[in-house]
């Protein structure tokens, strides 16, 4: 079965993330896209607008960008859910979690809203604190 176009778009954006190509990722978001980063740490919050979203992602990727290994991508005409393993090392701390990311797509195949949750919230908080 061929992958749904929205799932394929999400897969390409994860590949771009792993190669640090933020310009490619930028193209996937609408001007008024919203990104929710769950948790209670320095990077948590809701980022509104493509510039704010890209600033948040750029902060993540600079210097110590976490690597994302995609397990599965589920896609429909309006939504995508990504299951991926995120690993990263920084300052002697190790992050190794499975993250689910939910993404809303508009009719033009652009991302309007995205949010994510890890399977080890305490580990996640400690890593990002």
């Amino acid at each position: 079965m061929t992958e749904h176009p929205n799932a394929a778009a999400a897969r390409r954006s994860y590949e771009a993330w792993n190669s640090g190509d933020l310009d490619v990722i930028r193209e996937y978001f609408t001007d008024d896209a919203v990104l929710h980063l769950a948790g209670n740490n320095a990077r948590s919050g809701t980022y509104r607008g493509r510039d704010a979203v890209m600033d948040a992602l750029a902060r993540d990727i600079q210097g110590w960008g976490p690597h994302a290994e995609v397990e599965t991508i589920l896609g429909s005409d309006h939504h995508v859910i990504v299951f991926c393993r995120i690993t990263c090392e920084r300052d002697g701390k190790t992050l190794d979690v499975v993250l689910t990311e939910a993404i809303k797509f508009n009719a033009e195949g652009k991302v309007t809203e995205a949010w994510a949750l890890s399977n080890d919230q305490r580990g996640y908080e400690q890593f990002y604190s």
Binding site: A38, G39, T72, L74, I81, T100, A102, W115, N119
Partner: protein, 131 residues
């Protein structure tokens, strides 16, 4: 295109939850299921094991008078994973909850839920409702 069997499974599980048929609902989960509830509220956290998640369901039921309802808008699935975008509504005293909750599942080969993530589109509203 026919619905994937795991999409049908999620649809049935939600309908069983909405009916409040806890004995039947238990059958959808592995014994060592892990359940991740996002947010910063008293019910947030990682729950391990079927007994632990049913204690969580009982708290949800008690706090909402059994009135929490989940209405699926879009169900996605493959052979090992599934997810649903659902409108969740509930009332608690004078508080009203109305959010889109994404529920993501890891599904084992026997068709049981082994791991679960709940992500709300409006986390602040969810935090306020349960706090």
């Amino acid at each position: 295109m026919a619905e994937h069997p795991n999409a049908g499974l999620i649809r049935e599980a939600i309908s069983t939850f909405n009916r409040g048929d806890w004995d039947a609902y238990r059958e959808y989960f592995t014994e060592d299921v892990v359940w991740h509830v996002g947010g910063n509220h008293p019910l947030s956290g990682d729950y391990r094991g079927r007994d632990a998640i049913f204690e969580y369901f009982e708290k949800v039921r008690d706090l909402t008078g059994g009135g929490l309802r989940s209405e699926p808008q879009d169900i996605l699935a493959d052979d090992s994973h599934g997810g649903v975008f659902a409108r969740v509504t509930a009332d608690r005293d004078d508080r009203h909850l109305d959010v889109v909750l994404v529920q993501a599942f890891r599904i084992n080969p026997e068709g049981k839920f082994a791991e679960y993530w709940a992500l709300a589109d409006d986390q602040d509203a969810v935090n306020a409702f349960w706090s």
